[in-house]
Symmetry: D2
Subunit: 360 residues, 4 copies
Amino acid sequence: MKKITILLFATILTSSVFSQFRGHFSVPNLNGFITLKADFHMHTVFSDGTVWPTVRVDEAYREGLDIIAITDHIEEGFHIRRRHVSGTRNSAYEIARAHAGNRGIIVVSGGEISRGMPPGHFNAIFLTDAEALNKANYTDAMRAAKEQGAFIFWCHPGWDAQQPDVTRWFNEHTQLLEQGLIHGIEVSNGELPESYSPEGHGWCLEKNLTFIGTSDAHGPLHFEKGERRTMTLVFAREATVESIREAVFAGRTAIYDRGRIIGKEKYLKELFENALDFDIRRSDNSVTISIKNNSDLPFQLRKTDNDPRMVYFRYLTIDPQSKASFTVRFREGTPTGNVNFIVENFLVGPNEGMKYTIKL
Amino acid sequence: MKKITILLFATILTSSVFSQFRGHFSVPNLNGFITLKADFHMHTVFSDGTVWPTVRVDEAYREGLDIIAITDHIEEGFHIRRRHVSGTRNSAYEIARAHAGNRGIIVVSGGEISRGMPPGHFNAIFLTDAEALNKANYTDAMRAAKEQGAFIFWCHPGWDAQQPDVTRWFNEHTQLLEQGLIHGIEVSNGELPESYSPEGHGWCLEKNLTFIGTSDAHGPLHFEKGERRTMTLVFAREATVESIREAVFAGRTAIYDRGRIIGKEKYLKELFENALDFDIRRSDNSVTISIKNNSDLPFQLRKTDNDPRMVYFRYLTIDPQSKASFTVRFREGTPTGNVNFIVENFLVGPNEGMKYTIKL
Amino acid sequence: MKKITILLFATILTSSVFSQFRGHFSVPNLNGFITLKADFHMHTVFSDGTVWPTVRVDEAYREGLDIIAITDHIEEGFHIRRRHVSGTRNSAYEIARAHAGNRGIIVVSGGEISRGMPPGHFNAIFLTDAEALNKANYTDAMRAAKEQGAFIFWCHPGWDAQQPDVTRWFNEHTQLLEQGLIHGIEVSNGELPESYSPEGHGWCLEKNLTFIGTSDAHGPLHFEKGERRTMTLVFAREATVESIREAVFAGRTAIYDRGRIIGKEKYLKELFENALDFDIRRSDNSVTISIKNNSDLPFQLRKTDNDPRMVYFRYLTIDPQSKASFTVRFREGTPTGNVNFIVENFLVGPNEGMKYTIKL
Amino acid sequence: MKKITILLFATILTSSVFSQFRGHFSVPNLNGFITLKADFHMHTVFSDGTVWPTVRVDEAYREGLDIIAITDHIEEGFHIRRRHVSGTRNSAYEIARAHAGNRGIIVVSGGEISRGMPPGHFNAIFLTDAEALNKANYTDAMRAAKEQGAFIFWCHPGWDAQQPDVTRWFNEHTQLLEQGLIHGIEVSNGELPESYSPEGHGWCLEKNLTFIGTSDAHGPLHFEKGERRTMTLVFAREATVESIREAVFAGRTAIYDRGRIIGKEKYLKELFENALDFDIRRSDNSVTISIKNNSDLPFQLRKTDNDPRMVYFRYLTIDPQSKASFTVRFREGTPTGNVNFIVENFLVGPNEGMKYTIKL
């Protein structure tokens, strides 16, 4: 009798899991690449998180993500539930992957190599065996990851618990970089009060590293309407593990972080242009520009460096999935010239918005 | 100088109007007809409402509606702003239609003939001149509407201010019906505490009248996530005024009212079947049925009249845009039989859910 | 170095836990008793839940609860994480209680004795050692609980996985009742699609058992604005474990379940009267009654059995923390009489609203 | 018969108005003054707004405001509904005040003197007759307001439609100031994409003018959970018109604007200290500081200028109605020193957060 009860119970649980909404987050594709939504940093009860690994899959399903990496801390010191929770460093990944089944969420294996500063914490993802990363020496741990073909990124470089006053790049980081053990930087970390690290942004550009944004979730995630976790946008050839791996090694990513898009100018410009349709109508002394935003991204424009004979907005916000329009009036002469502005929430350098010009 | 300022101001207002989200409400089409979302009852400052007519267009845009009718009360007694607000009985419609422009919202003209009970209030829509409805005698007013080809429906038959104890059909209603002056009944009215009228439902079926659901909005509308106004679903050949008019006269409608779908069984059955994909997998002693809901409608199922040898859910909720699954276990014999249930939020009779059977 | 890092991390975690809002749910006290908000049924990774026990405390803090019981299943069959999660049947409670500290949430120990039907599942709360409940025979398990002074209630009597067609009271339940092993019934269970059991309601009244409502949470809980978990309102002398225990044994409870209040008429009537202030003003032919709702409870009134000479509302909704008013008009004679109505969301019998009269 | 119907209808409308929630926005009082929530800038259909004046009262009620001013534009050019809406420049105020009745919302009369730049738009509030402000010359209009004892403030000084490139102070403003015709500046205007004007902030400090923040609402207002309109916090002796008038002339105000508090340091410091309770506990090498936020204001702290021997947070967010804690670790020596930080969302100068020190 008991056995039947348990089987029934399992049926109910499964159905409740599936009865959650599959969320959507509409971000334009790039020319030649599809845009996938990824979160490569999150924890479970297998280190210092508070949820079972299946919860991470349910959250990703609800928020419209395509790929997640479970990255519990490798080191014993972070296994704070070890009095009650046991398993290998692959267990959380295995549980989450089994739960994902064919629900359209790719789960990859990861681990966080978590040391004092320097060098701080590093996530290795696309692992085949996280146990091999359990080494006394952090360079050994990262080498073990590299041997598995892992992608390695420096986590939360500006975390104040490790960098109490300024965010520094240490000699240790230079050494790791020279050994090919750093491929990216977590420029945005959703668990920190100030998620964005301008220093991390500068280093990504300067050293040609991949931009990574993550939730670093420890507890259950829930977002109010219009809000989303910090994540990485991956510009991949197709929605497969291998294609995503190729994209992050090639640096084809950007970050979504609390309404901001952060990354290299060439990708952000393509996102901007593929998200918006422009319709330009001219009259005698003015030009009216109507904009249709087909994406779930917001755009915050601020005028800059403009020709003083042209009068137009100082600030213009284009909300997700909406339309906006503005008129350029010409104080004198022919209605031609450059509409210059900065897209303030598209960061192409440390705290620096993306410049853009519409030529009339 | 002042003139320039005003022009600028107008530009800004226009842009803020367009910067609102276009909402979506995904309801399946029927076989051969598209499903349009309509609200045929709402007020403005031109009678006893509190908003300018443009607000009604903005709300419809934000909520994903396809068509609205402005239906201010015809009678002087309801023109409670007349000390300050003047115009013809067509003014509100004209202002709203001009504001709608090419934003994808059809605006039609209407008017509410508002008398004590009997016969109560009646909305006439698809008018060409609402002024012509200003008659001392209500039958004359409705005849004037009919001459314009209007569709006429009895509003909130169960409104307690007019039917304090029970909801009655009066001799006056029979007379109007016999003269072809009643084409539909507002079975659901979103302004009432209990929006749904089971008596109205019964009369629609019994007298072959069209099911109408409306907001009857007087103040500004706003809905929390997942909530929507009460509205009419119109099954039309195309999204034109003429096609919608043809559909409501033909009775091809249903009502969306606070998560319930209300109307004739044949349309509700098609909505149910077009919204859901079923996947049936058999094993030795059980059958597992997976359901994918591709719509924004919820479905609340309750088992009924079942073969005692088959064990399955007592209640099953399928949320909007989600998946659900359940297993039918067979206590003995071959795994075939009927899965009988009622879709409790699909009302095909007064307070009566729609019966449905999946044959295994 | 590593040690310091870990210490720092713990500091951050603690602060993030405390930075959640303490929620409020304002329910009136009864005459002589304070009203405490309790949830006596919830799971963690220590049986078939998906969260660490600390999450249950954080949720209760955020939702304004006063007391929770952790009630993981006693039986091995439900320890579905046992490959990775170990501990005694007291571990989840110990972890949650330590986390609660002095945050104003009382945590008590519990366990769910989970068998096929009959007799189904039973929660025992206020345990001193949950391990003692691990017996082959369910009566032995419940006797062990009773020896610890536990309060025992039958969980989800109408759960369709156990009662597929109708909700039955079995001989086994009569036997348990006669042995003093059932003190209450979980009339409302928030995990079920239809949370409320009218049969359970009837049995509570008939057999003088305590009304219990619970979340039965397995996954993380989150509620939209205005929504709350299903819970038990306990009318206690003070906010102590002993006082709460006394109250539930004395049957001084009611249930909050999705906007409904469920329980014995005498408590519901006091809640109604203590939540609302009435102001009655008379004129010649009418009386106007203004109502101020000082609570977070809603009230849904429907007129019934009225004197035909008195005209007033058919439905009246009084929202939480708001005011409402209505006018009674007298068709003839002196303005005196009874305003009769049913409070439809205050259930004093199976699916039966509470009758109330205001004498004018 | 018609008459009765209309009376009934009015009853229903009144009751629906009262059934809205009275909102709360908990901001601490100052020493000797109570903090009132005010919005001194909003429009209706009587100029270029889209709502009837009663809507403004309902919104204020729902959002917990204490006082509003209806400030429709004085000039004909902004009376864009004049084809249909007529009345004096006092009509909107009179309608709103009658609707407010004794609901706890003070309504005062106002008008917006709306000219091209220079000098731009100016609101005059606490008027006795707004008609008197209808003058060809703006100085005459402001003098007429002054004769009525009005408080006059410059609206949206940085509105890009009037100041397309930079926000300038013109000679005309100097002249008005010298004549005593400017008493305050609308440093924050909720209708603009970038609500806050740092230039306006600087001028308030430099010229000793009163800080004003407003919604400048034209359409219906609605806010998601946790969001609020831009408003003025008035530190008054009591909740009367005369006391509020005295406070704004005395400059005892601050601004609430999208989570920021903006104003003079002395008031912001008192708000900070009255909102937060600090509990300081010392151990050998560290001090732990627990903070309880008893207000609905958020606080965003960033460390600055710190003693390098003291290690603590770089960023700390204290959410409304919540607790936070942090630990200061001492690298060497005795655990004493200054915890220096900036409250980034408390602006005491143009884009400049408030410095604060906790001495240990």
